[in-house]
Structures are given as structure tokens and as C-alpha cells.
Symmetry: C2
Subunit: 242 residues, 2 copies
DNA sequence: CAAGGGCTTTGACCGAAATCAAGGCATTGG
DNA sequence: CCAATGCCTTGATTTCGGTCAAAGCCCTTG
């Protein structure tokens, strides 16, 4: 069971008072008393696609729960080559505990809404509440797992398998209409072709060609360049290389 | 500062009684009283290169500190394609807290010595000692950082850059004779060409050819197929693509 | 020493994906 | 309505790394 599933199934809805929304991110680990303290300092934001959330530019001093939308984590080489090293969906927690040396950027891939807390507030709370740190450890272990799965994709899969794996991963994360009977599903791509290329270690052209192939082979349909309909998840999975 | 450096610089030597060795892994987070309890259940092992430490076969029910040697973490696709997703050096902590779903294998790349504890003992201790969980969180964050760095290497670097990056990483981790003056260093490769290929997402032949190129360009020397001498770390770094 | 096996190197050739180059198709704004 | 802009697709060509094949080099073992 992933952390995400765990939080969902635990079903701990927490009224985060400042952002006036019920959500289930890391806040779910706090007891009501603690939460009231935290809520006073939290605030809800909505940001445009493309906004930089964590970057080299401004030293960001806050943590956030992702309430909706998709955030991409990227790293770049000095000559501009870029790689997306992670995607965060609701209710993931966004931020860098204990300043790591690694330079990472976070950018809104879609419209994103966040509930943010000052770094100091979270860090104070973490000292008091082992349960909060435990939650964080679990999310981190989960992200590590995902990162390692993608290392296999990046290092050992063909372009066709990479694209199929990507679609499968997105479907699993934001699929609104999973139909177990027909084994079909549909969703909006949260990333542009360029982002997908940066995620899979390919070029835009190769991503486009592979999507075209999946379309002509009738594995998927794409409307408005965004909305994907997968006719058979199993057929897609069989092309993802395990 | 990496976790590894942190543990080293903190300089917390702990006498782990059962293995009768001073080491500084996760045990360093425990106070002496707790340690006595743990030490009763711990034991020191030495394993041959190639031994499987964590695998699909036997469900391993213990955690370990790596005392010396190098452990490779691998993942495989159903058709046998393999990817190394991490390397662990002393004093890293080896094991899977909270059973994750991801199937991962750990195998001794070199001769390895370990200090192992039963899973139950560590887990009991973790509930009592927030400091232990904190250490674990820090190591996990560090591994996540490393994994994401390698995603950039796997997705966006050329074969030449991959091999240079690999040598640089190994040098940083097990360099016994770093000479800041001449900027030179030397070390034994802990991995075979096949392992290096699995780590970098390349074939054996490509790894061999790139090493040959570095040799003919006088950036490195290799003796006995194992012992590498880097004449200029900066020159090597300049070939690693940042 | 010779034989054998495991690992590594090297060479010739091939192919998947990158690069280079147009062109299409929406949305936006004058 | 017609540029203009930003994505996306498609085609032609090139190239980097993979594949196939052979040989070299150690190291062990009889």
C-alpha cells in the first residue's frame, strides 16, 4: 500500500482552518490541538501552470500540501539539459526537510492549489510530534521507491515502453473514471510533450511519434492534445515492459 | 553535508557489543542503554561477493549496518533486463522499513561485512526512540537525493558522461588517497563492467570502450582491470557533464 | 605447463532515437 | 479576418550506442 493509499484509506479528514478546506496531507498526522496551532500560520494558494514553487532564485521558506493539480520536480545540467525527477499529486507533501545539498526545482505543471505552512512552524511541530515525522518518513520512502522504479524505466526501457509506462503511471494517479469491467479509463495529460520528454529522457519528436503509434494501433485516443482515453489498460501495460 | 559525512563528523563511535566493532551506522542514534538491548540481538557477518542479501526468494527479516564493502541494489524487468538503482557504502543502513511494495534486490558487489539486527528489534526501538527514526529519515532523504541525481545521469547524459560521472562518484565514496595538491586519486572499482553497465543503463561493450577512451586520453589509468588511478579529478569532472 | 573459464577488449555492422527541417493546428490579439 | 505565437506532428537524414562476433588476458586447476 502506498502512502497515498494509506492516507486515503485511513480517511483522516482534517479541517485546516486557515485554508478552510478538508484535506489529508501530512496534516493528517497531527492531532486537533496541534493543528489549531499550525492552522493559524497556514494559507491556501492557487498558482498558474509554469509558476516556480521551489527554485534557485528565491529561497522558499515554506512547506505545502498539494491540494490539487500536479507539481513537477526538475533538475538541470549546466548546459540546459533537463530531467524531471518526480511528480507530486494531491495529497503529497512538498518541501525540503533539513536542507539537502541537491539543487532541485519545483514547478506547477498544471494549475495547482496548495496549503502552505512556514518552515519554522512545521519544524517546531516535528520535534514535538513523532507521528508527523513518521508520516514524512513514509512519504519519503514512497518517493524513493517511485524514483527507483523510474530509474529502471530511464535506464532500461525503449522509447515505446517509456511512453506506455508514463501513460500507465498517470492513469493510476489521476484516473477519474476507472472502469474495471471494460478495463478502460480516461484522463487529462498534466504535462506537455516537452515535459513528457524531460520526464522520460527522450526528445519531443520521439514522444510524439510514440503517441502517434499508440493512436494508430488503437491503444489510446487523444482529444485536444490533452485528453487521453485508454481503451484497454492491459494492452497498454503489455507495452510498458513489465 | 550528506548523512554519511554527518555521521562521520558527528563522530559518535558506538561499541556494538555483539559484533564487537566500533561503527557509526544507525546505531549511532541510540543511547547506550537502548544499545545494550539491541546489541544482544545483533550479529556480525561477512559475505562473499555475489551473495544475495535481500531478495524475492527468502523474505529477509533483518536490518543491517554496512561495515565495509559495497552493496548493490537492483531491480529487474520480467525479461531479465536489469538496473542498479543504488549503491550502499559503509556506514549505510540496509533494509526495508515498513515493507514497501517495490520489489528490490540487494547483493554484495564486493566482500561485505555487516552488523545485522532482527527486524522486530529495530522496529520496537523505533517506536521508543524518535532519534532513531530521525536518523532513518535523514538517510532516506539522502538516498532520494542520490537517486534523483542518477535519474539526470540516466536520462540526459551521454555514454562518455555517464562513465565519467560513475568514476567520480566512486572516487568520492571510497577514495583512500585523495591528494588535493595534485588533484589525483586512486581506488579499486567495486563493480565489474557488467555491473557498471547495469548501473549506467549501457552495455558492457560501451562501458569498456568509454574506459578505453579515458585511458588513451590519459585521464585515468587502470591496473588489473580493477585499480583506477585518476590523474586529474577536475579533468574527469569536466567530462561528466556537470 | 596446458587447458579451461570468466571477464574484458576490440572490430564490423546495424538500428533506434536524435537532429534537422517543414508544416499543421489551435488560440490570441491587432 | 489575418498575422503571430506556441504546441504538436511528420518526414529525411545522421549518429550514438547496441548487437554480433572474435580474440585477449588473467587466474585457477589439474
Amino acid at each position: 500500500m502506498t502512502v497515498r493509499e494509506d492516507i486515503h484509506s485511513a480517511g483522516i479528514p482534517v479541517l485546516c482552518q486557515s485554508c478552510e478546506a478538508r484535506h489529508r496531507g501530512v496534516c493528517g498526522a497531527l492531532d486537533p490541538d496541534q493543528l489549531v496551532g499550525l492552522a493559524k500560520t497556514s494559507s491556501r494558494h492557487s498558482v498558474e501552470p509554469g509558476s516556480e514553487l521551489i527554485g534557485d532564485a528565491e529561497t522558499v521558506d515554506s512547506y505545502s500540501n498539494v491540494l490539487s493539480g500536479v507539481v513537477k520536480l526538475t533538475k538541470s545540467l549546466s548546459d540546459g539539459r533537463q530531467q524531471i525527477v518526480g511528480l507530486q499529486f494531491a495529497p503529497d507533501f512538498l518541501g525540503r526537510p533539513f536542507k539537502m545539498e541537491s539543487e532541485i526545482n519545483a514547478e506547477a505543471a498544471t494549475a495547482v492549489s496548495l496549503c502552505s505552512f512556514p518552515k519554522t512552524a512545521i519544524e517546531r511541530m516535528m520535534k514535538q510530534s513523532p507521528e508527523l515525522e513518521h508520516r514524512l518518513l513514509k512519504q519519503t520512502l514512497n518517493e524513493l521507491d517511485e524514483a527507483r522504479d523510474w530509474m529502471v524505466t530511464l535506464g532500461r526501457k525503449t522509447a515505446a515502453e517509456k511512453v506506455a509506462s508514463f501513460l500507465l503511471m498517470i492513469a493510476r494517479n489521476i484516473d477519474p473514471t476507472l472502469d474495471p469491467a471494460t478495463n478502460a479509463t480516461s484522463f487529462d495529460l498534466p504535462l506537455t510533450r516537452a515535459d513528457i520528454a524531460d520526464f522520460l529522457g527522450l526528445t519531443i519528436e520521439t514522444v510524439s511519434r510514440q503517441l502517434t503509434r499508440l493512436r494508430t494501433d488503437a491503444v489510446i485516443r487523444i482529444d485536444n492534445n490533452r485528453h487521453v482515453t485508454v481503451d484497454s489498460l492491459t494492452r497498454l501495460a503489455s507495452r510498458s515492459g513489465a
